[in-house]
């Protein structure tokens, strides 16, 4: 038991270290791209954790998670574009996105959570496809394939002077400008940290235990008094709401929303990979999975370019390590991770290696 607790503790320490790095990333990594990566990691931790509530904790396979992410993002984007960049519009857009997500999640849940898992997965896939097509077709509202560019509320605009010095210039703390960009980053960080904390509370509560019981055996859960369809619908709604909120936050950070940034199936696949890499049914694994995957997406090409140059003298190797082949190497890394960490990184560390 002590060994398991120690292993769990080590996973928590890794995940908390990631959160710690995210907390200070504007000060640690002052490059714009690095802060961009940090914000994306924070948003994807929430997105992956909320998806893990479904697939890892309750055993629900859904392909509609990016649809809910998109509802939140498009809610904020449409409101900020149509009404103007204010907190009132932002709140209205966020609430609209969340409301649509809740309604759609309840409808899908009640209509289809009684059916077998594979049919439910297909229904969510169909719903996600419809949302993607609608976003492209309703171009007068959504900007179609091109998406929408809009302004964030004043506080979060890069030109906003958050703190000023005696001359009225933007104050620098540890050489970091205290402007709207840093406010936007901490807006993303704080909202994502709060959502992650809320999900930790859910899985640590009796509700989390019921979800795990449903995942293990629905019939037994029914037999001791739990309405499985009600619980599955409830967790589907919770996950959808969280994804919509994450979408709203991401749209605020990017100041751009389009099918590629929110609704695409490529993002859905990324989320699935992140859950598998981190470990299903371990909230902390979402932190590890999202971090590794986003870092790989942003830096694997750079790393391969360096490796390709360093091996110029060796035949064939520079070709193999060409940055253009980064997806191939990402696939190889993924296969190796699944082989060496069959329950995901966090899952395998916690449960210990079994051969």
């Amino acid at each position: 038991m002590n060994r398991t607790m120690n292993r769990t503790l080590s996973v928590k320490i890794i995940a908390l270290t990631v959160w710690g790095l995210l907390l200070f990333s504007p000060f640690l990594f002052q490059d714009v791209r690095q802060v961009e990566v940090a914000a994306r990691i924070a948003v994807f931790i929430v997105l992956v954790a909320s998806y893990d509530l479904l697939i890892g904790y309750t055993g629900i396979v859904s392909f509609a998670h990016t649809m809910f992410f998109g509802f939140g993002a498009y809610g904020v984007a449409i409101a900020l574009k149509q009404i103007g960049p204010g907190w009132g519009a932002w709140t209205l857009g966020t609430l609209s996105g969340v409301a649509v997500s809740i309604v759609v999640a309840i409808l899908i849940g009640l209509l289809s959570l009684r059916v077998k898992a594979i049919f439910f997965a297909m229904i969510t896939l169909a719903a996600a496809s419809v949302a993607l097509v609608l976003a492209s077709q309703l171009s007068q509202f959504t900007g179609g394939e091109d998406g929408m560019i809009y302004s964030a509320p004043d506080l979060l605009k890069p030109s906003t002077k958050l703190l000023t010095d005696a001359e009225g210039d933007v104050l620098r703390i540890f050489d970091v400008r205290m402007n709207g960009k840093i406010a936007a980053y901490y807006f993303v960080f704080i909202t994502c940290a709060l959502m992650f904390w809320a999900m930790l509370r859910i899985v640590g509560s009796p509700l989390g235990t019921v979800l795990k019981a449903i995942r293990e055996n629905e019939g037994r859960a029914e037999g001791i008094g739990y309405r499985v369809v009600a619980y599955r619908t409830a967790v589907f709604v919770i996950a959808a709401t969280t994804a919509a909120l994450a979408g709203a936050v991401y749209a605020t950070w990017l100041r751009y929303t389009g099918p590629d940034t929110t609704l695409s199936f490529a993002i859905m696949i990324d989320i699935l990979l992140m859950v598998v890499i981190g470990g299903m049914g371990t909230m902390w694994g979402a932190v590890i999975g999202a971090t590794l995957m986003v870092l790989a997406q942003y830096y694997l090409r750079d790393l391969m370019e360096v490796a390709s140059r360093a091996t110029e003298a060796i035949p064939l190797l520079p070709e193999l390590l060409s940055p253009d082949r980064w997806l191939l190497w990402l696939g190889i890394i993924f296969i190796l991770l699944v082989y060496f960490f069959p329950a995901g990184i966090a899952g395998t560390i916690i449960r210990g290696r079994t051969k």
Partner: protein, 238 residues
């Protein structure tokens, strides 16, 4: 009035009629034992009470209320706990989590938890262990403990001694005696010696129907009747 009444219950599984016109009254208090040969319909009766078959014909009333059309989870919330033959525990969860699942609001009543620990000390010892790693006897203890961690009016227990060592069976019997002081137990059992030591009332099911009801003391004394109704199971379980 009986605590539980079953009237004219018909249950078919696929093309096989398992119960036909089964009628049974379970009085309140003590242990009521259901005996019968293999395949007679004992387990099907318990599962039908819990609503685990789709709409069986006939009626099941519990404390005068018809529960035959209720959902399984609603039947469980009426105060009926079911300990199935496979124990029905969640192996991937800890003992503590299995127990929390059986509570009404996720919190333990300290007095009840103390009673569980007193009846099954092994559970306290392995409280944070994954349930799959428990021994067969400990799993059975967990399954029964889960049924009594909240006040219940009726506990349905299906073949609790199957595959257990004699010392564990003895301990289980003592626990059932204690539990039956406050809760009615409907016990399906093949081990006649075990059933005899616990039962106050009993019924024998054969070919999907109740063929005998009465007191366990009378039935235990009538070897000819036992031989006629239970010849196969007597040989196996006695």
């Amino acid at each position: 009035m009986s605590l539980l009444s079953i009237r004219n219950m018909d249950v078919s599984i696929g093309q096989y009629a398992v119960l036909h016109g089964l009628t049974l009254d379970v009085p309140e208090g003590g242990v009521f034992v259901l005996l019968g040969r293999n395949g007679a319909g004992k387990t099907t009766t318990l599962r039908s009470i819990m609503g685990l078959w789709d709409r069986p014909a006939g009626s099941v009333t519990f404390r005068g209320e018809d529960i035959s059309s209720l959902h399984t989870s609603d039947i469980a919330r009426k105060g009926i706990a079911f300990v199935p033959e496979n124990m029905g525990i969640f192996g991937g969860l800890t003992v503590a989590e299995n127990m929390v699942l059986a509570t009404a609001n996720g919190k333990f009543d300290p007095a009840r938890l103390k009673r569980v620990y007193a009846l099954f000390p092994a559970l306290e010892q392995f409280w944070n262990k994954q349930a799959w790693s428990l021994s067969g006897g400990q799993k059975q203890m967990l399954a029964v403990a889960r049924a009594i961690i909240e006040p219940r009016d009726l506990i349905l227990i299906d073949e609790p001694t199957k595959g257990l060592a004699p010392t564990i069976i003895h301990g289980m019997g003592e626990a059932f005696k204690d539990i039956s002081q406050s809760t009615t137990i409907l016990l399906v059992e093949q081990n006649f010696a075990f059933a005899k030591s616990l039962g106050r009332d009993m019924a024998v099911i054969d070919d999907g129907q109740v063929v005998h009801t009465g007191s366990m003391a009378d039935f235990a004394a009538d070897t000819a009747l036992q031989d006629r109704l239970l010849s196969l199971s007597m040989e196996e379980g006695a």
